[in-house]
Symmetry: C2
Subunit: 333 residues, 2 copies
Amino acid sequence: MSDIAAQAGVSIASVSRALSGSSGVSEATRTRIRRLAAELNYAVSPDAARLAKGSRGRVAVVTADLAHWFYASLLEGIMTALRGSDLDVLLYEVKREEERRRFFDELPARRQVDALIILAFPVSDQERLQLDLMGVTVVMAGGTLGDRPHVRIDDVEAARQATHHLILAGHERVALINATGRWRLPYAGPQDRFQGYLGALRDAALPGEPELVVQAEWGSSGGADAMARLLSLPRPPTAVVAFSDEMAFGALRTLRRSGIAVPHTLSLVGIDDHEMADVVELTTVRQPVLELGREAGALVYRLLNDETVEEQHVTLPTQLVVRGTSGSPRTVG
Amino acid sequence: MSDIAAQAGVSIASVSRALSGSSGVSEATRTRIRRLAAELNYAVSPDAARLAKGSRGRVAVVTADLAHWFYASLLEGIMTALRGSDLDVLLYEVKREEERRRFFDELPARRQVDALIILAFPVSDQERLQLDLMGVTVVMAGGTLGDRPHVRIDDVEAARQATHHLILAGHERVALINATGRWRLPYAGPQDRFQGYLGALRDAALPGEPELVVQAEWGSSGGADAMARLLSLPRPPTAVVAFSDEMAFGALRTLRRSGIAVPHTLSLVGIDDHEMADVVELTTVRQPVLELGREAGALVYRLLNDETVEEQHVTLPTQLVVRGTSGSPRTVG
């Protein structure tokens, strides 16, 4: 960079600003420096540009969970996108309300990061304000956060696809096992999936029956409990949509222990395409979690490197994967 | 700390050194300062002690994988142990030989960490030398690394427990589905589990039959393939030990698709107690992965804070968990 500075007759800092696209350099100077750089075959190093702007070269990834497939896969995708970028990843786990609040309280004082990727947990208004005051780049992965950049799926559509698949197969009594979150803050996932389920019923002119919507704690035990409650109904459903594959796995265990034939007596569809869905032959709606993570990592990288990012709100498509747990309702009772 | 320095008539740096246990302070001075500190009810702050020694307050966790249960659970355990410690975690993923080599090459120059936790991947002699030269605290989680601190299970014993359980149920033709690693370096896990399997056969005076030991790529697809190969034998085994639960899940799929009754016709035991093992009712040998991670995190914390650590080589016990995939061999052919 010093060759360019010498030839252009400006400071190294000016060269850095010109090449990184920062302000404080006249348009004429910028053009001259860029031409010189091109002549000297000078590759713009994102890191050099970053360091000149006083950045840390670190991205914080904040998650409420690590040991489950969805979060681990998101993280894997982010790491893949940032590998080789010279951005280091600082990892934070906030499992409870108080930990989340403390994290946001301490962030400005203690953490030295250029950007924050939040993995699919809700953020309070107060915490949003704290993020605004910090002024770092924030990307939400697996959800939305106001107008901030995000990468997600359409949860309404995912649940609609799952429900529609069962209706198309002839089912009229389709239940929903929905998840209750660990957060006191409202969380879009369960609300949106409920709406998608209702929408598919409405499109088919089927009545929404309150007894067919059960809430359970997120995870396979919750799914197992919820399925037991559905089987206890005077008239159980013939098909069930589960909030996630992990809840569907629990539901499958209850069905197996109850001796209920799947899909002959009851059909089951999950949402995720968890790595185990293929193994237990679960029909599901695939969400591309690794890609969500990769897109989030790439988005942060581009935003930090002053690349023009036209679309900061990315919604990746979901898709039905038909396996062995769904079929037509049996015609004889 | 300045109160103590004033009363003891020494510099603040000496107080710091005395309290943190560093050298450069005479034993007499150290004793005097410690007594004064006790009188003044001065709690030694690990962070203050660390900062006085010029440390970074950061631990690097290096893993070859993230999206799978074992690694994600180890990481979860480490995060749990370090939460609230004011040690930040930098995460690195090295998926291939070249990436691993590059990571160790660049570590001294680029990374500013006090300690490194390696998640269960093999390290070459050259890389060990690089670690020695760096002089940071290194802990291996889920394996061993020469004499360095480690937290692990006894892989020989885990495979012995799985095999012994099947022999005790009456099986004489017990197969092993072993994993081939992604690394060119030898990796202890598969070798040790093979030894444990052989040991259990030997203890029962059963012959080791080469055709009953099959190698497959780690993961559920590898397990599915390996089970298909075992079923193709002129005389298939009546029981199978799988290297891991994930390989057992794949094997179960092959068995289900082949219409083979489990455990009536064939018994299957895994090693792990993966979160899904309960869901598919897999008999397995439980390794306490979250605890392995927690112990590794706690070990790093204690080593960095100059706490006396008597036992730097921790081996946690494994335990048989009997579920639905193992039983006696059927007596009629």
